[in-house]
Each structure stands twice: as structure tokens, then as C-alpha cells.
């Protein structure tokens, strides 16, 4: 199975609307997926990620826009002509067929010779380590095994793209982590394009080359896990992936620097997005970027400082979470790694410090974005 390669996929203004009177379920989604890429569509339920996947698969018709696979429009093709592998949320194994028959099914649809089918089925069952279960029925194997069979069945015909709709949603945490490892391994070994839908941010961070964050039928942001975490493009993206301290205010420009002026405080950043100046905005600071010092400290250059009161502390083993309320009224938390804790205790007056480069400015309202592969940052179309 070394001759497999991925296909590039382009979603161009893809829109899905079930009724004229309701807002679209998927609204003007643009996304370019590179050949061989592992991309995750991440979002809460109802954000349009599954509908988008179903439109790529062909189970849902597009209301507007187009989907191109390797430059060819597939929007009007039925699912069975698109040649995509698909893993369903609840496995969808055929209960009346054995494991081997299930895996052979897509090959039979492609009119392959019996002997070749048998060889390929054996190969792919070896790949997922289930050769010994080939004559069992789906009702006689465990959930994790069923998910591996579903994976095997989806890739046995060497598709250029594999679509996965919350494939690990029904499994317990330990099995989920184990299967994540197997999915990552399959992606490396097969070299085909993986499109993975999940609402689990940890799963997305662990698996993906890039993540597209969905909200309200739109893509909020596309980028690598590091980009999304370090430079969230919207408040939603910041809060959906990881924890954030959020400061609300007006974005202004002062001494050549973009800063945020809130009620009773000002936050400096080195964020270069001058286009947001003059609008309501938000500065996002990740908890591990904030350093706590009990009492007052001399403020260094290029560091934001804010006085606050510690409200409570939560131990998490490898770190502790210090929750605070600033004098201006913003609540948030700092994360202190074990061995580097401050002496702050609940009720203490502390100074919060973070470097200006650690704060990210995002608009108070979200804007649609266009994601291109390899983009360091997303470009705003509005």
C-alpha cells in the first residue's frame, strides 16, 4: 500500500441552508486542504462541522459554493462516485456480514477479482491488527475493535481522502487515546488526506497538522495547533482551545503600539493588527504566561503589570492554578508549574506580570476567515 497518495480538497464558499427562514447551517466556508494533510474540523455540536463533512462526502447537497477534489468539482456527484473513505460515528459496520466481508464490501463494489480482494482484505486487517477476527460478526467484537474494522473498511480501496466523523466519540478515554495513536500511524503510513471531525480539542491538538475551528456555521480560524493556541484569531477560538484570561476594552494606538484600554486599566501588546484600532476588542493572555508576585514589584520595560487579589487555588499535580480578580474587576487565572510556584495564597494581594508579546488582540465580535495551507496567520476578509 505504498502507491497511495492524498488528494487536495478545496471548499469554496460552501453554504448549506435547510430553510429560507433559518440561518444557514454552514455559511460561506472556504478552506484549502493540501494533499496528504491531516486536518481537523473542530467545533461544538451544531457548529456545522459535521454538515461540512457530509457535504464533502456527498450525503448533503450544497446550497451554494463548490467542492473540488484535485481541482475537479464533485458537488454534483453522488457519494458512491466520489471515491472517498468514510468512518462513521457509530462505526456503521454491516451487522449481517463478517469482519472480512465488511472490509471486502468496497472492493466488491469496485468489481475487483476475488483473489485480489482476499489479499487486500488480509493486508488491511493486518494493518489494524485484527486478522484473527476476520470471521467474526460485528456484534461479537468490542467497540474499539469495531472502530478499527471501520477504519480498515474505509481505507481498503486506497481512497485518496479519508473522512472521519467523530470516530472515537463512543469510546472510553483510554481506548480513545490508544486509537488516536493508531489513526496518526495510519496517516503516516498511508500518506492520504485525512479530514477528521471532532468536538474534543485535545483530540484535535494531538492529531492534526492543521485545525479549522467552526462556530455558528463558519470557520473562525484555521492553523496549526501551535498557531491556534498562541495566536487565536477570535475570542471563540481562544476560549474553545485551552484556557484564557480575557480583558475587554477599546483598541487604541499609542506611542506606535496597539494597546487595549479598559475601565481602569490598559494592556500593551506588540500585536500588529492596526486594522482593529478604534473598535471594541479583547486581549487574550494564556494562564501560563502570567507571572504572579506577592505585593508590588518594579515594572520592567515591555511588561504589563496589574494588581489583583487571589481568590482561590486549585492543585493539579504538575501545576497549580491560581484564580484571581484584578482591581479593575476582571477574573482569571495563572498557571504555575510545580517547583516554580509563588508564595501566593488565597486573599493575598499580588501583581500580575506578562510580557507585551504574550497578549493577543482579537476583535470583540468574530469575523469570517479564509484558511490557506501553510498560512502562518489567517487573513481577515471583512
Amino acid at each position: 500500500m505504498t502507491d497511495m497518495r492524498g488528494a487536495a480538497i478545496r471548499l469554496s464558499s460552501v453554504t448549506k441552508r435547510y430553510s429560507e427562514h433559518q440561518p444557514p447551517v454552514v455559511n460561506d466556508v472556504c478552506l484549502e486542504i493540501a494533499a496528504g494533510e491531516f486536518i481537523t474540523l473542530l467545533g461544538p455540536s451544531g457548529s456545522g462541522k459535521s454538515t461540512t463533512l457530509n457535504m464533502i462526502a456527498g450525503f448533503e447537497q450544497l446550497t451554494a459554493g463548490d467542492i473540488l477534489i484535485d481541482g475537479v468539482s464533485v458537488a454534483s456527484l453522488p457519494p458512491y462516485k466520489r471515491g472517498l473513505g468514510m468512518v462513521f460515528q457509530h462505526y456503521a459496520l454491516f451487522p449481517h456480514m463478517t469482519i472480512a466481508q465488511n472490509v471486502a464490501f468496497p472492493l466488491q463494489q469496485r468489481k475487483m477479482r476475488k483473489r485480489d480482494i482476499q489479499r487486500r482484505v488480509d493486508d488491511v486487517l493486518d494493518l489494524v491488527g485484527l486478522a484473527h477476527l476476520r470471521d467474526r460478526l460485528p456484534g461479537q467484537i468490542s467497540g474499539g475493535q469495531a472502530q478499527r474494522v471501520a477504519l480498515a473498511r474505509a481505507v481498503v480501496f486506497e481512497p485518496h481522502v479519508l473522512l472521519m466523523d467523530e470516530p472515537l466519540g463512543a469510546l472510553d478515554k483510554k481506548l480513545r487515546e490508544q486509537l488516536q495513536g493508531e489513526i496518526a500511524r495510519m496517516h503516516r503510513e498511508l500518506g492520504i488526506t485525512f479530514i477528521f471531525v471532532t468536538h474534543d480539542q485535545e483530540e484535535a491538538l494531538a492529531l492534526s497538522d492543521r485545525i479549522a475551528v467552526f462556530e455558528g456555521g463558519r470557520i473562525e480560524q484555521v492553523g496549526t495547533a501551535q498557531e491556534l493556541y498562541a495566536r487565536p484569531a477570535s475570542l471563540f477560538a481562544a476560549e474553545f482551545l485551552g484556557e484564557s484570561n480575557v480583558f475587554h476594552g477599546m483598541i487604541t494606538e499609542r506611542r506606535g503600539r496597539v494597546s487595549l484600554v479598559g475601565e481602569g486599566f490598559e494592556v500593551l501588546t506588540d500585536d500588529g493588527r492596526a486594522g482593529l484600532v478604534g473598535t471594541a476588542g479583547v486581549v487574550v493572555v494564556r494562564p501560563e504566561r502570567i507571572r504572579l508576585t506577592v505585593g508590588d514589584v518594579a515594572v520592567e520595560h515591555d511588561v504589563n503589570a496589574m494588581t489583583a487579589t487571589v481568590t482561590h487555588i486549585v492543585y493539579q499535580g504538575s501545576y497549580r492554578k491560581v484564580a484571581f480578580r484584578t482591581d479593575a474587576g476582571t477574573t482569571g487565572s495563572a498557571r504555575e508549574p510545580a517547583g516554580a510556584e509563588s508564595s501566593a495564597m488565597p486573599g493575598d494581594r499580588v501583581t500580575l506580570c506578562w510580557r507585551v508579546g504574550d497578549g493577543v488582540i482579537v476583535p470583540a465580535q468574530s469575523v469570517p476567515v479564509v484558511g490557506l495551507p501553510g498560512d502562518a496567520l489567517v487573513e481577515s476578509t471583512s
Binding site: 453522488p78 458512491y80 473513505g85 457509530h90 456503521a92 454491516f94 451487522p95 449481517h96 474505509a154 480501496f157
Partner: protein
Amino acid sequence: MPISSTPIMSASAPERPVRRLLWLSARPWYGVLLVVPAVCLLATVFAYPVAALIWLSFADPSLGLENYHRLLTDGVSLLVLLRTLRMATIVTLVTLLLAYPYAYLMTLVGRRARSVMVALVLLPFWTSLMARTFAWIVLLQDNGPINDLLAMVGLGPLELAGTEAGVTIGMTQVLLPFMTLPLYGTLRTIDRRLLDAAIGLGARPLTAFRRVYLPLSMPGVVAGAMMVYILALGFYVTPAMLGSPSESMISQLMTVRITQLLDFGAGGALATVLFLLTLLLLALVSRFLSPSAALGMSTRGER
């Protein structure tokens, strides 16, 4: 009302059924008492007459296989038996062809439309069998509405009343619910996402239906077909009223032998043969059904 009565009631009420359940499970053989009334009833009104009839088929007028010998050689019984089997087969196939799309549609429509469809299936049960059969006599006669309609399109008149065709039409209508309901019961348990999965894996919609949906619907098909076939074998009223004596079915022949000729032995032999045929059919089907039934369970298990 004193307020205190409420807590006392609620405290004791849930305990009682639990205690009773324990009482039953501690002495499981007490549960046998529950089926005693049904067993008594069946023994007197079903088992005894059947046993008596079977006994008569060997003992009346004299002990031996005389009645069965006559059944095979009188030239009528065997013919009627074969006709009955043929009619039952045709009726079963026709009801299956009519019921499958209907039951399939029932799984697709919304809840309100489905209640209407269920009501339409059950409607015949709320109407007397005699009334429906008389209605068919009116509809099917040589100058009845059906033949008028056929004549308008240049196809008539067809001889329907008093023929096998008429009997088949009437029996199909009467037996349709017995096919539709078990079929719907099975079809609604089939996960339609399996069809999506098949189509996504490269199967055309018709292939997906044939390879995935149809096999999963077989338990319902077999259950419905068995029910209709067995009921059709012993059908009396409709063939008696819509058919003709020269094309009678086995139950009519039995009635004639027993009530008109008072030949209990010959009637008993026919009844015994019908009984054995039904048992044989049940045995065959239960062998064929059991693996499929197990599959039907595994479909549900996956949910």
C-alpha cells in the same frame, strides 16, 4: 386529609411490589401458577378437539390407515391440497410485494403520517370479515364496478367472482396486515445510516439496498410470510364465499366431509395432514430464521 398519611403511603407503596417480586423469585416454581388458567382453557377447547380429530382419522370407521389411503387415492383430496398450497403461495407472494414498499414507506415518513398508515393497515381488523367478503362479491361480480372499469379500458369483462383469481384478491386483502405489521416491526429497527455507509463505500443506492437493507429485513419477511402462509392454508370464509365449490380449498373440503357427509375420519385425515404441513413449515422456517434473528439482535445491539 391528615398530612401524615402521604409519607406513610409513599414509604410503603414502593416496598410492596419489591417484596412480592422477591417472594416469586425465591420460589420460581410458583410462577407456574400464572399459566394455569391459559393451560386449562387451551387443553379443553384446543388440545382435546385436535387430539380427538386426529384419533378419529385413524379410528373412524375402523382402526387403521384407511382414511389416509382414501385421501391419496380419491382424486379430489390431493388436488384440493395442492390447490390450497398453490393459492397460499400466491397470496403470500402478493401480500409481500404489496406490504414491503408500504412498510418501507412507514419507516421514512413522520410520526403523524405513520399513525395514519398504521390505522389504514388496521382498518380491516375493525370491519367484520363477512362484511368485507360480501363487499368483494359485489365488487368482483361480472357486472360489478371492477369489471365496469376494466371494460372502459377495453380489458373486460373478466371472470372474477367464483374463481381462484377472486379468492386470491379477497384473501390478499384480508391477510395484508399480517404481512405489513411484522415487516414494519423489523424494518424500523434497521439503521438507515448503514445504507449511507454502503453508498459512501461505493455502492449504488440499489446495490446498497440489495446487499445491506434487504438481508437485514429478512427476519421480518420470513415472519410475515410464515404468518400469512399458515393463515392462508386454513382459510375458510373468503374461499367459501368468493370461490366456487369446484375450486374449493382444503378447509372447505373438510367442512363438507364433516358437516355434510358426517365422515369424521376423512375430515380428520385432512385436518391432520394440514396440521402436519403447518408444523413442518414452522420447523423449516425456525431453522432458517434463527441465525437471521440473531443478526437482528446484533443490529439493535450496536445502537
